[in-house]
């Protein structure tokens, strides 16, 4: 382990010679994320990844970039319940926020196997069910496009000097493409909300008294939100440089109960799809609540429109499915017990959640689209 870390440090120094070294733009109280040893951070890789992320030419018809479903202004979500790909086919789960994705040891709503951000990029690019960017079988055309664009020739050579020395086949490849996209995503860090300034930044007036009351409710035993939505990014899925191991959390919150025995709709059944354990029906990964006020609609399929409804129509009755009249989902987490909550208390919790919005993150020019429409086509 130490030898591998030393090796990683050594390779960072080597890269520093030909490309600027990476500094984590994090406040002192936030530990840095874990980065794979075969894909260390660099400014040049982040810049290449940013160009790729915003480039609709990475889709079959040139209409859809990663940013098409992951819009920086919405904390990298898209405001839709589910989203269409280039053929019009929609998925069954909502585009997730990429803020602080570097801290997530497992990716997407219900796939416990997906532990690599590099490999995750293959799904929207090349997946066939659903078709998203529609590039299955078209990777050679994609590499030819990258190689033929002088902007990418410069960016790839700077980001991957070792591969550049080995030739174009090594330089324009699935490996470098996904590494660059992952590196850009790891640079998406959001820890500068009013609540952060109030809690860690020595600014007690940074949030309203309503938000402070909401904070008490959020971290209290009546609502128990913090049991799953605790941690650096308000999710119990977390790994960072100072944690000894990864923590993951998949929970059934009782949103659905199709059969009276706890099952969710077949198109998005929960991690049971991978584990085969019937008790895993309806278990989904806890998402972050940072910037939640700008990431509506809510839940894995976007089926709850507002934060007020999340509280009143879902968590208060011990899960939305309990409203069907058959009782709450028998497989739901033990923390979904339901609670009495007044409208004023809902106002306070919503004020707290709104205080988790990091405005600078939403407008950060370092994450913005570097292309003009004339260059890559309209989006």
């Amino acid at each position: 382990m130490l030898a591998r870390l030393a090796l990683a440090a050594g390779s960072v120094l080597l890269l520093g010679a030909s490309g600027a070294a990476w500094q984590w733009p994090l406040p002192a109280w936030v530990p840095p994320p874990v980065v794979p040893t075969d894909n260390p951070m660099s400014i040049d890789k982040v810049e290449l990844g940013r160009h790729l992320f915003h480039d609709p030419r990475l889709s079959r018809d040139g209409s859809l970039s990663c940013a098409g479903c992951h819009d920086p202004a919405r904390a990298f979500t898209d405001g839709r319940a589910v989203s269409p790909g280039v053929t019009g086919e929609t998925g069954s789960r909502s585009a997730m926020s990429l803020a602080n994705v570097a801290y997530l040891p497992v990716l997407t709503w219900q796939n416990p196997q997906l532990t690599s951000l590099e490999v995750q990029a293959l799904i929207p690019l090349f997946g066939e069910h659903p078709v998203e960017m529609g590039m299955a079988g078209r990777e050679q055309a994609l590499f030819a496009m990258l190689q033929g664009d002088p902007v990418y020739r410069r960016l790839f050579a700077r980001a991957f000097p070792d591969e550049a020395r080995r030739g174009d086949e090594a330089l324009y490849a699935l490996s470098t493409l996904t590494k660059a996209l992952a590196t850009f995503q790891r640079s998406l860090l959001s820890f500068d909300s009013p609540w952060d300034r109030y809690r860690y930044g020595g600014q007690p007036g940074a949030i309203s008294s309503a938000a402070r009351r909401g904070e008490d409710l959020f971290f209290g035993e009546k609502l128990e939100c913090y049991h799953c939505h605790g941690g650096l990014a308000f999710t119990d899925n977390q790994q960072h440089a100072r944690s000894p191991f990864a923590e993951t959390g998949f929970h059934n919150t009782g949103l659905y109960d199709e059969d009276g025995q706890g099952a969710y709709p077949a198109a998005a059944p929960g991690i049971v799809e991978f584990t085969g354990d019937p008790r895993d029906a309806g278990r989904f990964r806890t998402p972050t609540l940072r910037n939640v006020a700008v990431t509506a609609p809510y839940m894995h399929d976007g089926s709850v429109a507002t934060l007020r409804e999340v509280l009143r129509m879902h968590y208060a009755p011990a899960g939305r499915s309990a409203l069907q009249g058959r009782g709450p989902n028998p497989l739901r987490s033990e923390f979904i017990a339901g609670f009495e909550i007044t409208e004023d208390e809902i106002d306070d919790v919503v004020a707290f959640l709104e205080a988790l919005t990091d405005e600078r993150f939403l407008r950060n020019p370092a994450h913005a689209n570097p292309w003009s429409a004339a260059r890559v086509g309209p989006r």
Binding site: T87, Q113, F126, E128, H129, G137, E139, A266
Partner: protein, 305 residues
């Protein structure tokens, strides 16, 4: 003369690779004299007719539909010839850096033309390797990618594990079989705007075979095993590689399926996922159990002629 002695048309470089592989396997000098080259020929058909991209085939499945396929590729592995004592002797594959890797090979019958435009121009209908000299009467192989290779890093995998169309990114691993087709029932009314660029995708009927319900020991580790490996062992008691060909007829896999419909909110056709009403006839024809129901018999995709 040994009936299995086939003069291969290989150029010196691949022959050197062959010898290098053999040397690695047996680690003894003068190995070449004890080995003989071996070519296993495959042919692809749809209900007895040769497979070709863009060709129409009638009388498919329970509705006797007409289909226009857009892809037909599959991986085989663990190829072995069976000798007279019934022993399976592994064939050592030529490492060609394109179609064959370790003990697996990709067979590719689509040529990238017409509706196969998401495929590759190259095709491959043979598995090439060598076996110890001897008399062989039978054949055995596995349909699928071996577990040890199925869950590696797809972004750095060598050929033939580096084709994005054959990655099975969501489940992890590879599509052991990729067959896509439009059908008379699933290319008109059900086609979405902008679809029809190739078989499969938003409409059409696909057969994608792969391992499912792969669990890990811990939440963030690679899978250690799969509840449904979905690999098929194929065996022919009487097979002469010198004169015979293994025929893969996808029509037999679709014979009991309705290719004109797709169960709502499931993947188009059968993509091996659990709880898909389109899968039982397809998985059954592949000789695989599905949804707790044992396979009705051995696989029907492959025959010999």
């Amino acid at each position: 003369m040994n009936t299995l002695q086939i003069l291969s048309a290989s150029t010196p470089a691949p022959a050197a690779l062959l010898l290098a592989a053999c040397t690695a396997a047996f680690s003894a000098p003068a190995v070449a004299a004890d080995l003989q080259p071996m070519t296993l020929r495959f042919a692809a058909q749809v209900n007895g007719q040769p497979f070709a991209c863009g060709q129409r085939y009638a009388d498919i499945g329970t509705t006797r539909s007409t289909i226009t396929p857009g892809d037909f590729r599959f991986y085989v592995s663990e190829v072995a010839l069976v000798d007279e004592t019934g022993r399976a002797v592994p064939v050592t594959l030529a490492q060609d850096g394109m179609w064959q890797l370790d003990n697996l090979a990709l067979l590719d019958f689509e040529d990238g033309s017409g509706p196969c435009r998401n495929g590759t121009a190259g095709t491959n209908s043979e598995v090439r390797g060598s076996v110890p000299a001897g008399r062989y009467t039978g054949l055995r192989f596995t349909l699928g990618v071996p577990f040890a290779r199925n869950h590696g890093d797809p972004t750095t995998a060598p050929a033939p594990l580096n084709l994005t169309a054959l990655l099975w990114n969501w489940q992890g691993g590879y599509k052991f079989v990729k067959f896509d087709t439009a059908s008379s029932g699933l290319s008109g009314a059900h086609a979405m705007a902008g679809a029809g660029h190739g078989g499969g995708a938003a409409s059409g009927f696909s057969v994608h075979l792969g391992s499912t319900v792969c669990a890990s020991a811990a939440r963030t580790e690679a899978p250690s095993s799969c509840q449904n490996p979905n690999r098929v062992t194929v065996q022919f008691e009487r097979f002469d590689a010198a004169t015979q060909t293994v025929v893969a007829d996808i029509g037999a896999v679709l014979a009991d399926a309705n290719v004109d419909v797709n169960a709502p909110r499931t993947s188009p056709g059968c993509m091996s996922f659990p709880n898909d009403a389109d899968c039982p006839p397809v998985m059954g024809a592949l000789g695989l159990g599905y949804g707790g129901v044992a396979a009705p018999g051995p696989q029907r995709l492959f025959t010999v002629r």
